[in-house]
């Protein structure tokens, strides 16, 4: 279980997370949505212990991350996989070495066993097409990250995270920058990992279609606080309910986010300009 309790974090005096509490239960798939810059990635970094919260506590698998020594942190991270927003592949090594690095580092597997895991991870993320020349897992493994398209890099990043068979997975915008079909494939893969392998997952996304495919539960992070935390069905009901019926401020914000509506309580400066320009005409 991943649990955050009253987590707060500011950078240079700007509060990003004010008071964030939520949990992701074993085997559950939770999707976190929210506007850019609301602290979603910061939340993931807090979970991984890459940054320390100013206040509050974080638990992963029953252990408190905020109290861990560097060695304990490393042990905890072995249980958690992460897909980075920009893949974060190591560009000095080829795809095979990217995926096998953690295995070589933490285990005493034979070269053969490592190869097997690397190629099966690549196949799992759809990077194995034996019928097309240069597209088999072996060929992909030899390529350098700079030779890959954005979508392929993302899938290699996913294969790298999956190779160690983590119990928890954190996905930071897994489908951003992918074409709709590939996004659908990745969504299904995430869902499948969750249902079949019982991988507990926390996903950040801006893609509502993807959110409703992946999620058991949806969380909305807004202004550094949790605005909404409910099963997907409740979120869908809110999304499809008539706007006039929504009374609570929080409901209206969540409605606006779920529907990607430019009108509403959330009013970025650019929308202001747009409105004004319209009125003047």
């Amino acid at each position: 279980m991943i649990r955050l309790s009253h987590v707060a974090k500011s950078f240079n005096g700007n509060p990003v997370l004010r008071d964030v509490s939520f949990e992701v239960k074993e085997g559950e798939s939770v999707v976190m949505i929210g506007r850019s810059g609301q602290g979603k990635s910061v939340t993931l970094r807090n979970i991984l212990g890459l940054i320390q919260p100013d206040a509050g506590n974080v638990w992963v698998d029953g252990d408190e991350v905020t109290q861990m020594s560097p060695v304990e942190l490393r042990e905890m991270r072995k249980k958690v996989g992460m897909l980075f927003q920009n893949s974060a592949l190591w560009d000095s090594m080829n795809v095979f070495d990217n995926i096998s690095l953690a295995l070589r580092h933490h285990t005493n597997m034979t070269e053969k066993a490592i190869e097997e895991i690397v190629y099966s991870s690549l196949t799992q993320v759809g990077l194995h097409d034996p019928d097309r020349e240069g597209q088999s897992a072996e060929d992909i493994g030899r390529r350098m990250p700079s030779d890959l398209s954005g979508g392929m890099r993302k899938r290699v990043g996913l294969a790298r995270a999956l190779a160690t068979r983590p119990k928890y997975m954190l996905y930071d915008e897994p489908t951003t920058g992918l074409d709709p079909i590939m996004a659908g494939i990745i969504d299904n893969l995430i869902r499948e990992l969750n249902t079949r392998n019982k991988t507990t997952s926390l996903t950040i996304t801006h893609d509502m279609r993807s959110a409703f495919t992946i999620a058991d539960r949806i969380i909305v992070l807004h202004k550094g606080e949790i605005f909404f935390d409910a099963p997907k069905e409740v979120a869908r009901e809110l999304k499809e309910s008539p706007r006039e019926e929504l009374r609570l401020e929080k409901e209206q914000v969540v409605y606006q986010l779920l529907n990607g509506d430019h009108k509403g309580l959330v009013h970025p400066a650019i929308a202001d300009h747009y409105e004004k320009a319209h009125v003047h005409q």
């Binding site: 991270r77 958690v80 992460m82 980075f84 580092h105």
Partner: protein, 266 residues
Amino acid sequence: MPSATPPPTFPKRPIVALGRATINLFTRIGSVSLITWEVLKVTRYIIRDRSLYFRQALEIGVESLPLVLLIGAFTGAVSTWQTNYTAGDMLPLKYMGVATFKAVLIELGPVLAGLVLAGRVGSSLAAQLATMRVTEQVDALEVLAVDPIRYLVAPRMVSAVVMVPVLVTLDVFMAMWGGFLVAYLFMHVGFDLYFAEIPVFFKMKDVNVMLIKSATFGGIIAMNGTYIGMNAKGGAEGVGKATIRSFVFSALGILVMDYVLATILF
């Protein structure tokens, strides 16, 4: 919008600045010492991680070799030329070789090669690690429970400390040939005459000084390059800044340490 706290008035400012600078300095010294300690701790894996160390030794050492040899040849050539210009009237020609040898061995070789390597090696270390930092590649290592100190920093530091003395030794060797060439072509000093007095004045201490200096300079270069690179932030601009800072601090560090070591060792 009125700001919450008024800006500090005149008498406060210098004190605040001094205080901040002092805190920064000690924070930096502290974290550099911590990294050094961490690096020393993970060198116990040196056998297991040997391929990482070899690769860095190759990049830092072997690939800098042509440049260092060229620098060496010209260092020797110019010191022989200048020795002849300043002391040619007083100095018997047979001492030309040994004068060049001493100057290059204890001073010019380590310092000039060190400065060039601060540019060649230090900047590349800083740029590499800074890019890895800003593109989250360092975070990716941490997330996969791979220690960046063990994986990135230690191989670079150890390789630099080992390879820079090797490079400087070859630099000095090359300098002697550069010096000899100038002496031979312009001063008509033969091979025997140029090298004759070197065994007479040779002191093992000078070689040790050269090795200590160059290992220290290697450490300064690698420490600045890795520390500044690992702490870079802010995209492409941050990488550029890290590269410049790394060179400036390495060059400064080399010249200051050169003086400090001279006062200690002689």
